[in-house]
């Protein structure tokens, strides 16, 4: 929380936030009114970040096949690398998830939310000294949407019909209204590159706080401070070194011996041990990622809602969070949204483990014989253990589950989204609309529960262009209830992002957006000698 206060205070200092906005967000963060207003006044006197030093990160998730082209960035390491050298038009607020300005200073929607006008920040320089222009912005967005695009952001960009420069402003016209458009532009692939990156997508020339000085795919990358950074309130250390460490034990050894300052992906099973090291701090952040058991609603025997309900009640969620996540997570409620999302529908009753209800629905469904569940450890860490735990808790309700362990290689193409009952993982999306559109819309490619409901689709599309937030929230409640009570999703847990740093590292911002402080870790922290 104190880090978030610092973050807010910094935003005030650089003039990115006025008093009203500041107070609103501070309140949302649960900072008391009186202290928030003192904080605003005193923000200049807030704990001053130290500048300088060489920050070393030991990160999992890089590979020799990594390429710097942001369109193709998929690994955790590239995600973090891109944050260092590049900027997006829009960022998301670390605590509320709301859209906040970055290279776009402000934006305005048309009344139907189908046409959006963005003002681009002036006086920003790329690392090669060239001035950022509207043309760079237009071309970047085009590169991620044109018909030859291989961009990972293609999915979120496909609703954009035209990208235009109108009098120096960026104008986006959508195929249909979308109140969340600014947040879509916070997708980490959409780094603004000179000339859109058409000439050399791998150049890693951007407007970010650090310049890339060397990059060896799957090994190491180094950065130095960009002296012309437009945003003075980030980039505190002088230089950064990211070392790829794909072995969990190696990361822990490197951190506890002080060879690196920060590591990602700490295994929940070893957190308790790592905590004992005096120089180490565990950084656990609530996130949107969730571990799921998915049933195809259109395939026997899962086309029977009573069987689906029986299987939902047979899940011991508390036990899952404790055993599989080591307590570093929150129980899920069978819809893919948690309180980190804007417009989260509060007050929906938490579904609990209830063998009696499970047995009741199971009997009503008329199903007999074992239910086949396919799993693999690539689905999520500990997926096979989770399946066996589930088998045990279901047995108490008289439901027999047969666990079949599938090979990890090819799991995503042969089992997930293909077989009627399997385990899987979802990373979060920036908005509820995105999450539902990606995996619960009838026509979505990744509708992995085969949830084919025209009534659901209709509300989803209506909510998308609804600018009245109260109405929208009500729609999201209806949708959540439909998925929870009629869908094929069993969602036992949301996992926290568990990272760790040495005590030297200060100013870490717990960002709900994504892992590693939403990738911004290296640009937000400073080193306290």
């Amino acid at each position: 929380m104190s880090e978030y206060k610092n973050y807010l205070a910094n935003q005030v200092k650089i003039g990115k936030m006025n008093r009203r906005e500041f107070m609103g967000r501070a309140m949302a963060a649960g900072i008391a009114l009186s202290s928030a207003s003192t904080l605003f006044a005193a923000s200049a006197a807030a704990q001053e970040p130290k500048r300088g030093g060489h920050l070393k990160l030991g990160l999992e998730g890089g590979s020799a096949t990594d390429a710097l082209d942001p369109a193709k960035a998929l690994s955790q390491v590239l995600f973090c690398v891109g944050r260092n050298w590049g900027d997006l038009l829009v960022e998301s607020d670390p605590l509320t998830g709301a859209a906040v300005p970055a290279l776009a200073e402000s934006w305005e929607p048309s009344p139907d939310a189908a046409v959006w006008t963005f003002k681009i920040r002036k006086g920003v320089q790329f690392h090669d000294g060239k001035e950022l222009t509207i043309e760079d912005v237009v071309k970047t967005l085009q590169r991620h949407t044109d018909e030859k695009s291989e961009s990972g952001a293609l999915g979120v960009m496909k609703s954009i019909k035209t990208i235009e420069n109108k009098g120096g402003d960026l104008v986006l016209t959508l195929t249909e209204g979308n109140a969340d458009l600014p947040l879509l532009l916070s997708d980490y692939h959409l780094i603004i590159q000179p000339g859109g990156g058409y000439d050399n997508p791998n150049a890693a020339i951007g407007t970010g706080p650090y310049k890339l000085t060397s990059f060896e795919a799957g090994v190491r990358s180094t950065f130095e401070k960009n002296p012309n950074d437009w945003n003075p309130n980030r980039g505190y250390v002088d230089s950064i070194e990211i070392i790829n460490m794909n072995d969990a034990t190696a990361r822990i050894a490197a951190l506890s011996s002080g060879q690196v300052h920060y590591i990602n992906r700490v295994d929940p099973k070893t957190v308790a041990l790592l905590k004992r090291a005096p120089s180490v701090e565990i950084l656990s952040t609530a996130g949107r990622g969730h571990y799921v058991f998915i049933m195809h609603c259109n395939t026997a025997p899962f086309d029977n809602n009573d069987l689906r309900m029986a299987l939902k009640y047979a899940m011991d969620r508390e036990n899952m969070v404790q055993t599989i996540l080591g307590g570093y997570g929150k129980v899920g409620n069978d819809f893919p949204i948690n309180s980190t999302y804007a417009l989260f529908p509060e007050g929906i009753e938490q579904r609990a483990y209830d063998p009696d209800k499970a047995a009741f629905h199971y009997k009503k469904s008329g199903h007999s014989g074992p239910v086949l569940l396919r799993t693999s450890d690539v689905a999520f860490p500990g997926a096979v253990d989770a399946a066996v735990l589930y088998q045990e808790s279901a047995k108490k309700a008289g439901i027999e589950i047969e666990v079949k362990r599938e090979p990890g290689d090819g799991y995503w193409s042969n089992v997930w989204n293909v077989q009627p009952f399997s385990t899987s993982y979802w990373g979060g999306r920036p908005t509820q609309d995105q999450m539902y559109s990606t995996a619960y819309l009838s026509t979505a490619d990744w509708n992995d529960t085969k949830f084919l409901r025209p009534d659901f689709d209709k509300i989803l599309l209506e909510a998308r262009s609804e600018l009245d937030e109260a109405k929208r929230k009500e729609m999201y409640r209806t949708m959540a209830m439909m998925v929870r009570d009629e869908g094929g999703l069993i969602l036992p847990m949301f996992n926290d992002f568990v990272n760790a740093s040495t005590k030297q590292v200060k100013g870490y911002v717990h960002d709900i957006g994504n892992d590693m402080s939403n990738g911004y870790v290296a640009t937000r922290v400073w080193l306290d000698a």
Binding site: V219, R220, Q259, G410
Partner: protein, 369 residues
């Protein structure tokens, strides 16, 4: 182990025999395929040539076969990667693949073309020495491999430099004090080292030398701007791990081979003549025991170059193994093919070198029947 005496002839034990002796270090498919070819088709000229210059004939024969083998390996790798579920486009994009992005990548790389056409295209380039560009990073494969191979060889060289002389010396020492305390200590320690999985040995070394004592460099990542001294200090722990892993195998083979020779009549004569034990071992027994030892050393050297991916991962060392694994994970065919060929070439070369050295060491083998 006892079957590895010099009389059996190295040409017959090279591939399969010695490979079977190393359960902890499985040789890749390519290694097992290096079966010697004693009965190749022979013309009269060839027969005469074989008799007159057995060594040259063997080398020519082996070189010819190597080309065929490499070709077969490339075909097998291609088929193997094709048989894996999912192609480059889907695996590279993973869970975040959209059908259009997948389609674009496939078209871009020509994955929509038939299997044979793609293989022949690749082969056409490879024959001319052009391994193409990595599908994932679009960088030249040769250039990238050059760097990684250099790192792997650097590590393997120092591991071999320490482990081979040490293993042979310890083996001779064990023979000299056979069934006495030094022999038993050497045996117990080396067996313990070989029984521990290499990652565990690595973790133990990291725990003691890097975390608790803080004297060793960790991670062992090497990069371009590093000086030679820094590099040496970086690879100290991985080298120590590899030495511990390969030492026992070579040491025990040396011991067994020498003991085998020690039971023969001429050694008894030497003993009766009153020569010192060490002189007998070093001067009379060792030369005749050299063939099987060379074979084991060759296999371990090959392992040091191509089989150390686990050690690379544990120590965060950028070698070939990790490079190939990364490429296989996303089905980056040009990289997988190039790595596979280099690995196969290493096995073939080292096996050939072992055979030649064995023949040089034992003149009787130059005239097989």
């Amino acid at each position: 182990m006892t079957g590895g005496g010099p009389l059996t002839g190295p040409a017959l034990t090279t591939g399969m025999g010695a490979g079977g002796d190393s359960p902890s270090q499985p040789a890749p498919a390519s290694g097992a395929m290096v079966t010697p070819t004693t009965g190749v088709v022979t013309g009269t000229f060839w027969r005469r040539f074989t008799l007159r210059r057995p060594l040259a004939a063997l080398i020519i024969q082996r070189l010819g076969l190597s080309v065929g083998l490499l070709f077969a390996v490339s075909l097998m790798i291609f088929g193997g990667v094709e048989a894996l579920p999912g192609d480059f486009a889907t695996t590279y994009l993973g869970q975040s693949a959209t059908p259009q992005a997948v389609e674009n990548i496939r078209k871009d790389l020509g994955l929509d073309k038939p299997l044979t056409e793609r293989y022949l295209n690749w082969l056409g380039g490879a024959v001319k020495g052009d391994f193409g560009t990595s599908w994932a990073s679009k960088n030249s494969v040769s250039e990238q491999i050059g760097k990684r191979l250099g790192n792997s060889l650097f590590l393997a060289f120092f591991a071999a430099l320490i482990s081979v002389p040490l293993a042979v010396a310890l083996g001779m020492l064990a023979v000299q004090y056979r069934n006495r305390l030094p022999d038993k200590i050497i045996n117990v320690i080396s067996l313990a080292a070989i029984s521990l999985p290499e990652f565990f040995v690595g973790y133990l070394l990291i725990l003691f030398f890097a975390v608790q004592l803080g004297v060793a460099t960790f991670p062992a990542t090497v990069y371009d701007s590093m000086g030679f001294g820094e590099r040496l200090s970086a690879i100290a722990l991985p080298v120590a791990t590899l030495v511990l892993v390969v030492l026992a195998h070579m040491m025990r083979m040396t011991r067994a081979a020498i003991l085998n020779v020690m039971s023969s009549a001429y050694v008894e004569t030497a003993e009766l003549k009153g020569l010192s034990a060490f002189r007998i071992i070093a001067k009379h027994a060792a030369p005749n025991a050299v063939a099987p030892v060379i074979n084991v050393i060759a296999l371990n050297l090959a392992y040091l170059v191509v089989g150390v991916v686990v050690v690379e991962v544990v120590f965060v060392y950028p070698g070939m193994g990790q490079y190939m694994v990364d490429a296989v994970t996303v089905r980056d065919m040009p990289v997988v093919q190039a790595c596979g060929l280099i690995f196969a070439a290493f096995y073939i070369f080292l096996n050939m070198a072992a055979d030649i050295l064995a023949i040089l060491a034992n003149p009787r083998l130059r005239h097989p029947r």
